[in-house]
Amino acid sequence: MRSALARFARNRLALLGAAVLLGLLALVALTPLLFPDDPFRLVGPALQPPGGRFLLGTDTLGRDVAAEIAYGARTSLMIGLGATLAAILFGTLVGGLAGYYRGGVEIALMRLTEFFQTIPAFVLAILIVAILSPSLTSEIVAIAAVSWPGIARLVRGEFVALGGREFVLACDGLGAGDARIIFRHMLPNCASAIIAVGSLLIGTAILIEAGLAFLGLGDPNVMSWGLIISAGRAVLRSAWWICTFPGIAILLTVLGINLVGDGLNEAMNPRLRER
């Protein structure tokens, strides 16, 4: 673990990504102080260009774009983390069962995983949110539903490899139950792989969330980056800043997450490098 951290710290790009993410976390933490008002509140004249009293300008209704972006950061992180955690839980369950029990269970579960990897993910996510009606929960459910297959394949592979190792056979020989072998011995051994691959999922999840919100499938009562862009689209000709700044926020966030994720992958999974 320590050597992995050292390897991570030597990766300059990963450190840059970590710095970007720290900045974002600071923004989220300081939001209530910087922008005490509700981001939906009208605070000034409509369509003020950036640079004046409002650093990033105001939108079509006279809301502060900077405040909207700060509150949107919280939403994006919440959905990104929530959906990734759900996807990891479900993917680990499916992959773990398949890799531990093998045989028919494995064939059935892996077919299911491949099926979910084949079908158009974003279209399915749209359908799920549309059917459950737009809200934070349905966005998390939809994104998790299209993100778990990668984790399932990873965990299955790790479990199959671990299953033949001596320490697992020894546990089995000593009479340890399935649950004990899985939770005490096998899962901790693939935790680092799961964390590394899962960290990259957060970035994808944030991109999917932005797309959903852009199409009008975000929670209408919660500020999000996609929502700002979709509202600003109508006045793109006269007010470029409304669409521009939230997009930069998305880009920087996802870039930071990807850099950190790549760094984690190289540090923790030297075997998976360049794959």
Partner: protein, 323 residues
């Protein structure tokens, strides 16, 4: 003959996938709050009570679940995807009408991403750790993190509004009535920005995969042999490495086919491109769930077809592939 058997085998494998999509659609209809008939009718309240009754009868919604599923499956297999009340037209023909613009956009974006991505990956790998490699890696890192719809909006601001070089939206100039090459030119001008916005992400993906793949191949014995024979570096790359290095890129292209369809929904919406994506957006606006289900079904079938094509390309590239 062997090729025909191979294709037949792959088609057999596609059947469970198609069936799976039907099951998933059926499940989603019943996941929706309220009556399944109101989901199938689209916008709640818009359909007449007679039509709702007809729907219930047609889909056997008063029957047990198993019968309902049987009826639904039968309808889907006949490509009877239902009727869109909002658009006053059968779902299947609505989608078919929009298939051509979407295919044009997707193929253009896909081809651009594949060709340029592969070339960039090759350029990065041959100049490993040089400034060329660094620039290409940086560009693909940024492209990896850029939402396609935002990129599209920014291009509209710069190239259409500020510079006035390209049209902002649509498939061709309304009312221009161009013919022949004029029409091709006109559509081409409208196609540039959506195709770039859609392809950039995949371009980055293929560049990354290609770079890693070339670097892996360059260390192989056959490359050393080719060099020992005195072949030029260009000849080693184009004649030996390229074909082998392309295999993982082709695999990745198949994996990404489904995502390309999803990406085209947001990009088409941004540019008002009259394809399946815009149809999906309009269906969302009017909560026409059955039309959305139809689009999901058709796009999933499309992915199956694309994967078949990828398998064929794979066989052509690598004769060692077991047919």
């Amino acid at each position: 003959m062997r090729l025909a058997r191979f294709l037949g085998h792959r088609l057999l494998l596609a059947i469970p996938v198609i069936l799976g999509i039907v099951v998933l659609n059926f499940f989603l209809i019943h996941l929706a709050p309220g009556d399944a008939a109101s989901v199938l009718a689209g916008e709640s309240g818009a359909a007449s009570p007679e039509y709702m009754e007809q729907l219930r009868h047609k889909f056997g919604l008063d029957q047990p679940m198993a019968t309902q599923f049987g009826v639904y499956l039968l309808n889907m297999l006949h490509l009877d995807l239902g009727y869109s009340f909002r658009n006053d037209s059968p779902v299947a023909s609505l989608i078919l009408d929009r298939l051509w613009p979407t295919s044009l956009l997707m193929l253009t974006a896909f081809g651009t991403a594949l060709v340029i991505g592969t070339l960039l990956g090759l350029a990065a790998a041959t100049g490993r750790n040089s400034w060329r490699d660094a620039v290409i890696s940086l560009v693909s890192l940024v492209a990896y993190a850029t939402p396609g719809f935002w990129l599209g909006l920014m291009m509209i601001v710069i190239f259409a509004i500020r510079l006035g070089w390209l049209p902002t939206s649509g498939f061709d100039t309304v009312g221009a009535d161009n013919e022949g090459w004029d029409e091709v030119w006109d559509v081409g001008r409208h196609l540039v920005m959506p195709a770039v916005a859609l392809s950039l992400f995949y371009l980055a993906v293929y560049a990354r995969v290609m770079r890693a793949s070339v670097l892996e191949q360059v260390g192989m014995d056959y490359v050393t042999t080719a060099r020992a024979k005195g072949q030029t570096e260009t000849r080693v790359m184009t004649g030996h490495v390229l074909r082998n290095a392309l295999l993982p890129v082709v695999t990745m292209a198949g994996v990404q086919a489904g995502n390309l369809i999803g990406g085209s929904i947001v990009v088409e919406t941004v540019f008002g491109w009259p394809g399946v994506g815009t149809l999906a957006f309009n269906a969302l606006q009017s909560r026409d769930l059955n039309l959305l289900l139809g689009i999901f079904f058709v796009s999933a079938c499309l992915v199956v077809v694309i994967n078949l094509a990828v398998d064929l390309v794979y066989v052509c590239l690598d004769p060692r592939m077991e047919l």
